[in-house]
Amino acid sequence: MTVTEPHPAVLASGYDVEQVRKDFPILSRTVHDNLPLVYLDSAATSQKPLAVLDAERTYYERHNANVHRGIHVLAEEATALYEATRDKIAAFIGATDRREVVFTKNSTEALNLVAYAMSNAETTGVEAARFRVGPGDEIVITEMEHHSNLVPWQMLARRTGATLRWIGLTDDGRLDLADLDSIINDRTKVVSMVHQSNILGTLNPVERIVARAREVGALTVLDGSQSVPHLPVDVTTLGVDFLAFTGHKMCAPTGVGVLWGRLELLEVMPPFLGGGEMIEVVTMEGSTYAPPPHRFEAGTPMISQVVGLGAAVDYLSALGMPAVAAHEHAITAYALDALASVPGLRIIGPPTAEARGGAISFVLTDDTGRNIHPHDVGQLLDERGIAVRVGHHCARPVCLRYGIPATTRASFHLYSTTAEVDALVEGLHGVRRFFSK
């Protein structure tokens, strides 16, 4: 395993965000008429540091070959690079065994992989009994899930006749755990939940829910799409059975994600996609499957993206995830304070930075108290070079829960600055002036 040198930005004193920003070429571009870009949409996707761009380019310039199936130099180099990322990911999330790391195309595929495996369990032997679901069984999610961790479970429930249940939300954007013991019960087969919400920002009390799921013998799946890129995440401490996350939100290219699963579970989990790479012995009559992780990596994988992901993990490790988390926590606290000074602005989600990440959703009214639609807010902010996201953020049930059609969301990452927050706040005052005139 490679040991990464600390990033110069953290060597001297604390965390030098200006130094970090120099690694991201896109952050110095301008938009419209020479306005500096204020990128506050990292929850949708992060920007990429040069090291990641270079890694992908070098891979294609020097090492490109298909992995796992060649005996020539390039194939061996490509395979070594691809597999090195598996080691890096394992170390990054505290996994004890590299075989627990499965590459997927994104979080969505990782979550679907588990959901489909569960309905494929009928097609495999008794060893997959824990994955079987049917009528009378229950699947538990939460009301704050991204559609990627909601729709696959709705589909599983429809395929198998199981019942979908969910943990509701409190008015300030946290999970309402009052009925936890009845929602997660002896009929529960699987509990799947988001670690940190992409719309509310809430950091969920995973240990508490996992403890209850364990009591009843349910499998646990964690959607780490918004946590792994922003905080130190350790699968051993969290105690979950599966963790899904997506490369493009953690400074890596699009097209690569990860499903981490406990080895003893992956060893008996039925495959999802069949094809090359995932088999052991194939005859016309039938096939046996490769052990994990390859059982779940059918077909030629996204090799250059995996190499890019490895570079992203090195980049994040050099900064240190505790330092990244501390920086983002400070920005989030600063932003929550600053946004509170905008008249007519209401935060949708926890109002303080405690147990909360840097995705901040809000709604805004004009001087007369009339709602200014997020689409209009986003458009006017864009005119100032400020990139935010508007809509339901792939979590429509959250908007329904709070009785709003959509929100405006500003989200931060390791390169975000307080000056960008100031620009946002000034922009929002401008939006209110425009619609109040």
Partner: protein
């Protein structure tokens, strides 16, 4: 880019004081269209008498562009022959798909030409079209309920109006 070309004063006026808003009886067809990416929604009713658009009424939720467009659209088509109104719909659609290259015929489209600037913003074109698509759908149902039912699956997947994601109610423990 000049934002004023999108947020024309005419558009802001219709947004602040929308015409024909509120659901009215009698009506021949009612539709509900949503724009799933941004959460804009419109419920729209149409009354057709002797081939003429007698009334269009609606309730809508959304951005200034979609709200203003519903107001402008209803004011334009009410009182027109259905065929003429459908022709206006085609002209408006062409204007919105022009990516800023067309101005629109003010004689015919009246206030709707103010949306020409919106056509430069691909993400907002759907907003301007939402109520028009809803009106077209409702009118088809009003004019020929049987044919409309047969093509229902097609209109539900049309790009401007994909079907809403259906989210079940919480099952009570």
């Amino acid at each position: 880019m000049n934002l004023d070309s999108m947020y024309q004063e005419i558009i802001l006026d219709h947004y602040r004081n929308p015409l024909h808003r509120g659901l009215r009886d009698p009506f021949d067809a009612e539709v509900h269209h949503v724009n799933p990416t941004c959460g804009d929604e419109v419920t729209l009713r149409v009354k057709v008498v002797d081939g003429v658009v007698e009334d269009v009424s609606y309730e809508s939720e959304g951005c200034s562009i979609s709200q203003a467009s519903a107001s402008v659209m209803s004011d334009l088509v009410i009182g027109k022959k259905v065929d003429d109104a459908l022709e206006l719909e085609r002209e408006f659609l062409a204007l919105m798909q022009s990516r800023g290259t067309a101005e629109g015929d003010e004689e015919r489209l009246e206030d709707a030409v103010a949306f020409a600037g919106v056509s430069k913003y691909p993400a907002r074109v759907k907003c301007a079209l939402l109520s028009w698509m809803a009106w077209k759908d409702a009118t088809a149902k009003a004019v020929d309920p049987a044919a409309a039912a047969a093509s229902a699956s097609v209109s539900a997947t049309a790009p401007a109006t994909p079907a809403a994601l259906d989210v079940p109610e919480q099952e009570k423990p």
